[in-house]
Symmetry: C2
Subunit: 492 residues, 2 copies
């Protein structure tokens, strides 16, 4: 179906605004844009109805066969006990209208291929794309949605309509908001999203296919606009990072990806949202220190510096500038599962809080359609340890290296912007430490809280007759590379 676009809307969406948005989009995209729209009302009962079915009409045969075969096929409750303590099973999987914020309370229940139960605790309450509210509104371009699937890494030079960074600097009309949910790439790294996915399940493990599906469900950008290579990147991240450990069911038939307990902060998508009641001065706007990140093209042409003959200006860059590094909303806070409910996770999401808020207009337009690189270590910091008074300290600091077992710790990328900004938004921010490669705590946060303990081997696995083995044989002595980042310790 060429020129067709699927728009998923929440049931309570204002129909008038939808019409207006579609009209505006029509003007914006011109004759090249889609002229047929499939409107899907999200919400409702479990997932394989409506939206899922219609989504498949948009997927290529390639992708469809995959989906039908595995993850997205039938209701997939097969053998699932659903150990979740919350009986309320209001499922809301579909993409919400961007400005909307679902009112929480519902648990998510993915129809995953392996029949694994998703965690129904409080670390899993943020189901949908609320992160969009914090995205910049510079999402011009990117008119339509993925329409053909290439062979994964097959150089999708096709007529992927995603307008490239060629003829973009148009007028950033306000109409682009409605489609941000699919056109806007989420500000999280693959590593972060994988953690979100895995930690959304009860047993903190997930098959590759389910990771794909979870990410597509929560970040429709990947389902609709990203190039198929994003799955390659997922696999690459799983293999590359030590924190992701593959375990195999006893019969060796299913591979689950887990997060090494020493590295797992139990990051979940909703944790990246700061509660508004924290009374922090850090809400929407960003300081100039974060805007100083310069667009490389501008920077290069500034001084007539030497040795840059013939300025290859045709360079088609693909990367967007990084998001502001330490902006607190990018910092998922880990609340140890052992002390839940410290703050109701992600109730009121700070509304617009556009990422490029204080960027100059030209800059915002400039960086429009490159692939954003998610901020550095931010969510996963595989080995935070020890800590240190305040501010970015340069050399190693004489600090004890053993943390109180489950003190909520948070890693923040170090930069020279007000450390107080990030700190102020949390109950009791204690120390920041630049964790270079010093402080080699052999086992950081030695073991995991019994709650949600990952390797509860005695607990008979529901669908697979339990008894998982880490693909090799996890000796549980893994050491994780320390990253250059600040660790923000919240002790209260």
């Amino acid at each position: 179906m060429p020129n067709t676009q699927v728009v998923i809307i929440p049931p309570d969406a204002d129909i008038q605004s939808i019409i207006e948005a579609l009209t505006a989009k029509g003007r914006e995209c011109g004759s090249n844009g889609p002229n047929k729209f499939i409107l899907i009302s999200s919400g409702g009962s479990s997932h394989p109805t409506g939206s899922a079915a219609t989504q498949q009409t948009l997927q290529s045969k390639d992708e469809m066969s995959t989906a039908t075969k595995g993850a997205r096929a039938p209701d997939c409750q097969g053998g699932e006990k659903n150990l979740g303590q919350n009986p309320d099973k209001t499922v809301e999987r579909a993409v919400l209208w961007p400005p909307q914020v679902n009112s929480m309370g519902g648990q998510e229940q993915e129809g995953n291929s392996s029949g694994e139960a998703t965690s129904s605790g409080l670390d899993n309450s943020l189901t949908n794309i609320q992160w969009l509210g914090k995205m910049s509104s510079d999402g011009l371009g990117s008119c339509t949605v993925k329409q053909e699937m290439e062979k994964e890494n097959q150089t999708p030079v096709q007529e992927r309509i995603k307008t490239e960074e060629d003829s973009i600097p148009a007028t950033a009309t306000s109409s682009s908001l409605w489609q941000d949910s699919i056109s806007e790439r989420p500000p999280y790294s693959y590593m972060a999203m994988i953690q979100f996915a895995i930690n959304s399940t009860e047993k903190k493990r997930m098959t590759l296919k389910d990771i794909y599906t979870w990410i597509e469900d929560h970040f429709p950008y990947f389902r609709y606009v990203a190039k198929p290579g994003w799955k390659n990147s997922i696999r690459h991240n799983l293999s590359l990072h030590d924190m992701f450990v593959r375990e195999t069911s006893a019969n060796g038939k299913i591979s689950f990806w887990t997060i090494h307990p020493d590295a797992n902060r139990y990051l979940t998508l909703d944790q990246v949202f700061k509660p508004l009641d924290a009374g922090s001065p850090t809400s929407p706007e960003y300081s100039e220190s974060q805007q100083k990140r310069h667009i490389p093209e501008l920077q290069k042409n500034t001084g007539g510096n030497s040795s840059n003959k013939t300025e290859p200006q045709n360079a088609r860059r693909k990367m967007k500038p990084l998001l502001p590094r330490v902006s607190s909303y990018l910092v998922p806070i880990q609340f140890p599962v052992s002390q839940p409910l410290i703050l109701q996770s992600s109730l009121k999401v700070p509304q617009p809080m556009a990422q490029g808020a204080s960027l100059s207009g030209s800059e915002a337009l400039r960086s429009s359609k490159r692939v954003r690189i998610a901020p550095k270590v931010l969510p996963s910091t595989e080995e935070p340890s020890s800590f240190l008074p305040t501010g970015p300290v340069k050399e190693k600091s004489h600090c004890d290296e053993r943390l109180p077992p489950f003190a909520p710790s948070q890693s923040v990328k170090e930069n020279n912007s007000q450390p107080g900004e990030a700190l102020a938004s949390f109950p009791a921010a204690l120390c920041i430490k630049e964790e270079k490669e010093d402080s080699y705590p052999d086992k950081w946060l030695p073991s995991l809280p019994p709650v949600f303990s990952i390797k509860e081997e005695p607990v008979q696995s529901d669908e697979e007759t339990g008894l998982l083995l880490p693909v090799p044989c996890v000796k549980r002595e893994k050491h994780f590379k320390k990253k250059n980042c600040l660790t923000l310790l919240i002790l209260a």
Copy 2:
């Protein structure tokens, strides 16, 4: 100087063959090729003479300033004590004519920026580009040499003459041999080359700049034809791999890159050469099992498979197919420094031993000008451990995890080609083990032999008043990710 190419020749090169080669090249490249040649005679005294000076004329101003400032500037013996036990200081730094094999015996003495002494032991005797003899002769394309320097990662879309993989399948004339030394990318990964570089020094440490220089000296491909981004890749590898540890001199002024002792196999360039006297049946040709690696383009168009609509055939790939994985010449054998001279390192190099020897002609042409990806783990296998009878074993194997401290061990990429091939070439190959993530020996090969011990702190450092600190504070308990590879243990 457009249309100019530097050709470095050994002093004993046959002038007649040079003329013929240049003439043949002229025919091969046509009017697009270089029409001016700078012939540089290599060899001779220490390095900043002749070749180095002329090399600079080829470098851009940008690069020149750098070079002049640091590494390649004056003789740079500043403060160097030259602790090498071998008084013979015959320096041979320049590139040799490809088929030539220097007759060993000379030690290399880099004019490195930090004034570090290069190792003059036997693990450093292979100075130049003897690896070329084992490269495939499919190096068509790549007519000329780097002529302008971009800003490192500045998308060198310039008129870098390196003929791309567009109009290549010409006749693989035999004339390309003469320039292989610079046009042919070495078959080693960046990780391997970095190890070669670092291990070529006496103290097993090297500054970044010296690593650049060492690689350029020994693999002129990087000096002359590689895109400037190769230095980015070097830095990327240094950071990425845990085995590379940065240490800082006491005053904090100089950063040295070292190899973590638990991971260092003391690989050197000459070790990748198998002595011919080992009486192995593995010499030049490869079994068909290694040729089965298919060219992707061919593979894609074979079966009229489904779901591949609109075949984006314009895909400009940049990667060459991998080299044969376990071909023994790619497997640098580590000979523990404590038992040197087990075999005279790299005397007679197996001459042609073209990598693509048994490839069909069309295939060899096809894969001509993409960037070759070096075989997987091969040289560095950051944590080999335990072992196992023979052949590729699937699941974990009950094997003891502690190795005899300095038994020469070698990691080989596991594949299903005759394990005996690689084994036969070594004195007593004992066991092969697929080292998945099992067998987590806390400290594999616990400490290092006193000989060439890296952290001889009491030994007053020559130029820097010694006392190095690993940039953070190395606790020496690093664990290295085990790769999926076979460990070949040579116990004899």
